[in-house]
Subunit: 358 residues, 2 copies
Amino acid sequence: MTDVVRAWVGSAPLAWLREVVDVVTMKDVAERAGVTKQTVSNVVAGRPGVGAATAARVNAAITELGYTPNLVARSLATGRTRTVGLFVPTVGATFYADIVEAVEDVLEEHGHHLLLCTTRFDGERARRHLAGLTSRSVDGLLIAGDRDLTCHLPEPADVRFPVVLCAWETEVPDRFPVVTIDFEHSGYLAGRHLRGLGHRRVAVLASPAQALRVQGFRRAFADDGLTVPDTAVHFTPQPDVAGGFAAASAALAADPRITAVFAAYDALVPGVLQAAHEAGRSVPHDLSVVGHDDNPESRLLHPPLTTVSVPRRRMARQATEALLRTIAQQGTTAGPVQLLQPELVVRGSTGPPAQPAR
Amino acid sequence: MTDVVRAWVGSAPLAWLREVVDVVTMKDVAERAGVTKQTVSNVVAGRPGVGAATAARVNAAITELGYTPNLVARSLATGRTRTVGLFVPTVGATFYADIVEAVEDVLEEHGHHLLLCTTRFDGERARRHLAGLTSRSVDGLLIAGDRDLTCHLPEPADVRFPVVLCAWETEVPDRFPVVTIDFEHSGYLAGRHLRGLGHRRVAVLASPAQALRVQGFRRAFADDGLTVPDTAVHFTPQPDVAGGFAAASAALAADPRITAVFAAYDALVPGVLQAAHEAGRSVPHDLSVVGHDDNPESRLLHPPLTTVSVPRRRMARQATEALLRTIAQQGTTAGPVQLLQPELVVRGSTGPPAQPAR
DNA sequence: CTGAAAGCGCTTACAG
DNA sequence: CTGAAAGCGCTTACAG
């Protein structure tokens, strides 16, 4: 059948295909309306300087033919795709899922599309994705979460478009603008809360990338002349409930005298509670637990979780807006650091230690 | 400064911009290697018929100049963007987050990019997104989840690219291929399990879009001559923990004699457990709870949840592969329904009723 | 095995 | 206020 159609339509290259798919082009609209392509372009783009009568004729032709502009051709001509790339480690964690949706909201407001790449905590995968993105298929790139890209971050010279960093906790590179949380302070808030309740002997559950919040947490204890030793910091094998269970079990086994735990992200906490339960500890009476992130589920735990709330949606919005601004003014790729402030949310999972350690 | 550069480079349109951004084009490579653009194109595309020596010269020029092909120009010439659009209601639910990642995996294997649109259970938003996608910016579209697009589904004639449906539960339209779960059977499995344990008086918590699994659930009771009345079906105000709490509270208040609850998706269950707790019911002794989806968190609940497992990642993979196949063979947009089979996973949240209702 | 031409469907200056 | 030309950077037939 293909051959039949082809023979019937004629031999112009690809003409048969156009005929089959029936693509209406700007030229068709122009002919129908009795004007040039340029005028159609002006009408479509809403540029001034087209007579009312002409515009009406063009618009009529557009709806009659069902014309819809070819965005690829437009991109080639303008050099912009109106598409932004977003790197996140995963969408399975609600922290990043919220970021994705917030970014998408801002992009939609500005008429941009979202190209999503999840890196799955895999630097090599991230690097591959990045290579695939070069070559003008996006106008800019937002990298949210430094868990795996930290050593694969491209040089500004190697990348053809503006890049903005977001939710960055490890060293903040100065070659790109970054919008992130004051993680040192968020850790400090968690630590100061526990100190204020009288806890002296505590454990920290974190992933290695969360150095800043751990540092802040320790600073709160240092303020009172107390030390949180390295042996009290337990790394989570995976960033989820199972990782929380493993790390909390390890922490309780390593030092049964701890009276509180800082779970450096809420996603760990159901596992932490389970580990406490299996160790015969009730929360908060025998063990206080403070989280970080304030995930929506956290208030529904038993007991409701005391945690540090970080404005992740606002952060994502600001980062996206910064990126769009950079894109608009053609690549001023350097910029200052924007730090958003966390807030402690006290609920039921923390209280004074049962028998204050000396 | 712009003006200075412009004056310096000359008056060729946009030449100053190219100079500033320093874009290397295929023509530059060709000149450097002493061949035509066409030969460069052949080398880049890995097409046969280029002499080894020539290819080596071209490749050397490519790396020396740091050439990277302009995908937009390629797309305009080929008519393919190697980008696929994906509609999901949200990425905040792990069910859809898993689908997104599975789709992305398949796309990556085939060298395609992912354009993500979340509809947020908002049909109007979905319609807008769809309109924005037309015009060749994607090669195909995967719509996962029918919660809001059901009445906004485009006519095949109105859409310029292949569409495949996935995770579809309401009426299955015959105008597009669909890869989904046998939801009627999954509901039946949940119902049969409760019946087998001896439950006779039960409630269902579901969203209105989940008619099929509710229907299957009822069929299991009908098999034994029992009826699950409409008054026992409680709709969830929101698709999350809070919705589960509200619906379960309503169900327990409406009929305190129920001995089991079918939560039509696992995301509800923490709220259901909480409602049971507040009603003074222990699970499974005073109330059995069976879920649907088998979210990873579900096995960590107290008690671990009995639920119906659906192969969502496999479903997403198959749907994506079907879409890519359709794209490859230029738009055979009709196709059969692929139904994947669910499986019951029995854990601790279900048991025989404490005092069997007559 | 390699090269000159035409085309993809737009937009961007520029002349009437 | 409208039109003819050139260009965006590729690929696709086709001739040597």
